[in-house]
Symmetry: D2
Subunit: 112 residues, 4 copies
């Protein structure tokens, strides 16, 4: 395993041994949801362009934020199931680092 | 302009008397920020497409959520400065309704 | 009106002219809710003391956070109804400062 | 200890084999932080009792929410390090269930 090569900014080795589950198979689903989010961001531009009522724009912002957070939760579950668990099974300091990295990402999501 | 298409219930007149401040003058700024957010949503699609590292994708989701919330805060400040304050100065049940509507929108933002 | 005396850290003049509504009359309700939140914080201590299951503790933390945010939303609505609206009716730079102060507080709540 | 009273469904054995790390050793630290949070909730009651300025109360609510979320993040990291990782090492459907349970708890935190 080459996990040790890339602690953070790295591409995807961590997924590459798991072609069968999660992230990879759900890729189309994630892309579909993200395209819908892109559509929401264009809808917001249109609403501002046409000077729609502020509260309606804010309602759309809330809906878009919720959709984004749902994508994040899915990715997080995949990440824990694959990368974190793999690192945990392998053991050692890498395991602890992966868990710390994941909880830091969660803390950023909670605060954002 | 086709404000009358307005999807939900709210009147738009609340902006129309304030061509000079806030929302209207900041429109280009909001549009620029929303286009950047649209770009972020496309960046996320690319990251998922190329199976980038989950944590890096989550970091981008956090950044995008923060950018969205900042737009919401700006719109909210404009809304309170114009619609809520105008309704308050006019007084009556409309004033109370506007304040309730604004705090409901805030509650949705806090929870999203 | 003595609104101009106390822009930020100040006590309560802003409420004192409104004995009849909002904050003052709801005081007992706020105190009851805050006492319940205090009880939740003691419940959390007991759960940690007895080493209860982590997920159950986290569920309690979420419930307590929601209760706190609900108190904040109530206070915010009262604040906008009284202080912000009063300042708006009085007009001038004080009005703008009150609105900015309120939206800054909202931004802190959204991020916390 | 009367762990069997455990209010919801979850087993506590997941902590009991880990007397040496995380949750157990950090217990005093968690209790200290939760006592400080309890103090904050009493401080809030005092502020409402004395009708302090709303914005100052809201600032305190934000600080208390942040403190609570920090406790939650610590507990979550402990939980993933112990229960989730143990279940993952053991494998089987229990592993998947633990990960789902943890991400559901995270989603509640993100939304609260």
């Amino acid at each position: 395993m080459t996990e040790s090569e890339n602690p953070t900014t790295s591409p995807d080795q961590c997924h590459s041994t798991h072609q069968a589950h999660g992230y990879i198979t759900a890729k189309d689903d994630y892309l579909k949801r993200l395209r819908r989010i892109e559509g929401q961001s264009r809808g917001l531009q249109r609403m501002v362009e046409e000077e729609k009522y502020c509260i309606d724009i804010l309602t759309q912002v809330s809906a878009m934020t919720k959709a984004l957070q749902a994508v994040a939760m899915g990715l997080l579950e995949d990440h824990i199931s694959h990368c974190v668990v793999d690192a945990a099974v392998a053991g050692g300091p890498e395991a602890e680092a992966k868990i710390k990295e994941a909880t830091d990402a969660i803390a950023r999501l909670v605060r954002s």
